[in-house]
Symmetry: D2
Subunit: 343 residues, 4 copies
């Protein structure tokens, strides 16, 4: 089968012909209908420091996908041949404290699809049954393929209710854009976003942002206070990974507000205005990673299949699998939303 | 000034000329622009048992309204002459355990506008500053006038988050209809309603209900299970006051689901299927009364002024104050949504 | 091996010699050190209507126990030979909506140890690895054996925080008694209990109840209001299964309070004072069943092993397995707390 | 009357004879029975940078106290002459967004007793009725006087339930010591504290700490992991104001855990390990300031008056008002818990 393989410990990846994977007793084989490129894939492609530590070539890339089950291992019970599925990418151990107490998303022995094992940029992928998620028949494969990052957006936005709330989002890369849509669909009544890219800000408006601020040209703080009658926002979503953006966001939070942190920062230690903007403001701050398995998937699936959330504006490019480098290039230049690949 | 006055301890009410009310030091005088008829007003009009116990004629009726402040008492600080306001109708004591701990909506010494004191079906109304709520300028008076019952709907729907959830609502009288809109605006992905009135069910669809069941003709339980792949609903909102509807609702809840109870029942003791449908299902049940002051008002105001929630379909009739009996008749015949009166 | 076997579809059970169970690949074999008699066991013993429907003799009784793992199936990973364990008794399917969304305790395909399959009143028991819970070495076997019902008590008490709260508990049978201890250990500042048995009320005082009311002789409602300066209690725990007790409890709740329902009622439909005591009081009511797997077990294990909670007063009798009928007799006469059996 | 007055914009304060304060219509006059020295008082006494900005001498110092009401203004309704009271020290405006939505503790126009207006280190103090809190008769004045800081401890500890949880506290100055007691009384099953002062660590043990680590001599991180079987703690309470302590605390949190931040930091921007120890761990972090008015006071009052919480070990010194400088000296040298002054 064709697959995008990270073959060497340097920038790049190759489309190769490789054997169709063999499944274990607790696994299923899935014919991939569509896959999407994640920022993580780009890290692996460009071979940054994180990739150097985590990736052991040769390995098939990719972890966001949807497809059809074509074979099931003999211990597999829930999933059937012919099922239309996507997959959680975090494979939990099932035995640690977090797994035993309902939080496999922070399992201490996590393995990750396309990082710890072969991924989805291929005609077929083998995955453990436990991470398979059944899609409704009516869900387009492109939407089904981006449920995993949409799950990040859902957990970031809905860490607490947003209905009737004002929301600021710093950073509207692909997941930030999905977050705009989730906030809008969930009743947020004013959504103010900031980014450095006009391209992404334009998509944010299509997804439902009321106000889009180019933080490189305009004053984000002033904009938020103006748009909220001087109150600041109830909800802050940090999705940029910028320390400056974080502190700007904290400074426009209304006292008693809530912040979710999803963006990963460039530095290990980020200077944070704790006294004035966290403690005296009595904020609640939630670190967000992965998504709840499968609580979040239920929300994601329903938002999409009900049509309440339309993610079309975020899906900006579609390529054949062989043309994956076009997608990588667009991602690297920050000139895309989600890029879909078809094997 | 003109006012609708309950003059006698029997069915009916009269439009009379009465003096403009005088305000106390902590009160404000409001020129009423629009008022809305509540089910409570109908109880007072028809003089049912509850009214007999609570109402001491002569008294001006009505408590849902919007208007302009024309005079302020000398202790009044927050509200200014010229402010465009509506009002919470529950006047809390400020001194009891509930008031001191953030729950004035269940104050043990509650007084109620239009019940314990003169109301809003008049050209002017005097109210304590503490219950006044400032409206944004762009809010139509008809919408502003129904924020109080919309607050009931918001507290019923949003007792927990509904984004990505399936919702069943038993009873879509005026507040139930508003609840449909709130659930829809807040991201509920399937809304199934039941009622005995096709008139109300039609409005429910306009407000965003996905499925409308006439429980007198169709099988509500079957409909819910069919629409939810046999799972039942995550969220149940009892807004009918019918014991049968409540137990039907409990029987279609998915285990682990949440129910809000707003409808008041005809009987003091309602037989409830506790073992099978509450305990073994591990439901969470919330009694809802009044609304949070002013947490709920913030949500209500924003949903309306942002346009996220359009309550137009619920406002079915508009009359001059003098024609209030037309509204009462429609309410009594269950042939209306909210009825607006203009003094 | 020796085992207490329900051999016939009528009152009674027998101590028989039966083969040691064989384990499947995902199961473990446990040498039972101590077991405890549950109310469910009594139902099976006396052969009530529930038992008639659920139990298929011959079957080994019992599900509350602690013991040592002596053999593990080849797919078993988390549990090792020699581990000192107890077990969750609810065996979830792992595939249904509730299981996939973190609530196996309300799995729609639940199987129950000692009900759906052979139980723990025996020298050995085979259980699936997935329900095994490892105990700390320092935990006495008698305490370890009653963690399952203690889990019910923990979920009932701690459905919301009780620190600094006033608590009323209706019904202090064995699980109610454990609930008293949990409430006390968790910071409840006044605990008022009611029961019809002076025997149980005496134990309740030892477990930390501040006020014990014999509802057959004294006025429970008056007692609660007197002990709470007329406010009523913040937290109500219904553990009696009596409709009268439930309504008495609801009537002494402070507005805005929280109620947990654990006791199963004698009737399918229980008349409940919904208007006055649930809706107008804005109560939150939680149905409680089973316990969270394993969130609740963590709390239980720590409360016991830390010594914060001493359950000794609830363990009133200890017998050899062969003498199990002495325990059944005491349970039936309501003259015991928890009864321990040693194989 | 005698009073401790900050007379000049430099280190120090004087005991002077000043007029008994006159009350406004909404105020009460209280004869002070006992007062306690807060860290804030020390800041004012030593005249640090914060004091320079906030304090306008001459002003009477002190804000933690208990006393008897000897006079009430004519608008005062809830409080009566003869009442035994303490007081919230945050005087909210009642009109801002936070006040209107149930969070006066983060009012944007807060005034503070002993900071914005004359305080309690005097024979009499005038306070607005709205901040008065009635004490039960049985509460010793020394305990009643420290309810305000105990409220900080309660909000820090009980931001979420701690029953059955493991807790680490960095910093056991007076409020940290109270937090130990609150955590212990509320069911925390392992409490590990760190500080640089053996004096405070000794008191922490008396308050219920299971493990006391001198972070200047011992390895806090190793200690926590050893005491928690390598899991880290469920709950972290930062009460030191040290950035190093904060990051140490974050590094010993179990994934999915909760952190409360009360200690104010020396620097405006504190470097925080966000990626590894907040985001990937999915922590919940709560800024804590003031206390809920009066939700927290209810908890505080009940914990004390029920005897569930004994704060005696924290009250280390008692002086006559005239000897207040002895207390200031001890506080400055970190050789005291709470210091009580008697006018």
């Amino acid at each position: 089968m064709k697959a995008v393989v990270k073959t060497e410990k340097k920038r790049g990846a190759e489309v190769l012909n490789v054997p169709v994977p063999k499944i274990k007793d607790d696994e299923i084989l899935v014919k991939v209908k569509a896959a999407a490129i994640c920022g993580t894939d780009l890290h692996i492609y460009v071979w940054n420091k994180w990739a150097e530590e985590k990736i052991h070539p040769p390995q098939i890339m990719g972890h966001e996908f949807a497809g059809e089950v074509v074979e099931t291992g003999k211990e597999v019970k829930r999933i059937k041949k012919g099922d239309y599925i996507s997959a959680e990418t975090h494979i939990s151990c099932g035995h640690c404290y977090q797994c035993l107490t309902g939080h496999p998303e922070v399992c201490e022995n996590l393995k990750i699809l396309g990082v710890s094992r072969d991924g989805a940029f291929a005609e077929y992928i083998a995955i453990p049954e436990k991470i398979a998620w059944k899609n409704p028949e009516n869900l387009p494969v492109e939407f089904a393929a981006i449920q995993e990052p949409l799950g990040n957006a859902v957990d970031t936005v809905l860490a607490e209710d947003v209905a009737g709330k004002t929301v600021a989002i710093t950073g509207v890369g692909p997941i930030g854009l999905l977050a705009v849509g989730v906030a809008r669909a969930s009743g947020a009544t004013k959504i103010i976003v900031s980014d450095l890219s006009d391209y992404h800000l334009e998509i944010a408006k299509k997804m439902g942002a009321d106000v889009a601020v180019n933080a490189g040209k305009e004053n984000f703080k002033e904009a938020v206070f103006e748009e909220t009658d001087g109150l600041g926002v109830d909800v802050g979503l940090e999705m940029s990974g910028s320390g400056k953006a974080l502190n700007d966001l904290l400074s426009v939070m209304t006292p008693g507000g809530r912040v979710s942190l999803l963006g990963l920062f460039g530095e290990d230690f980020v200077p944070v205005s704790l006294n004035d903007n966290v403690i005296f403001k009595k904020l609640r701050i939630y670190g967000i990673t992965g998504r709840r398995i499968f609580q979040t998937w239920v929300i994601v699936s329903r938002l999409l299949s009900s049509g309440r959330l339309d993610v079309s504006p975020v899906i900006t490019h579609k390529f054949k699998l062989e043309d994956f480098e076009k997608g990588m290039k667009l991602m690297e230049e920050k000139k895309s939303g989600k890029v879909i690949l078809y094997p």
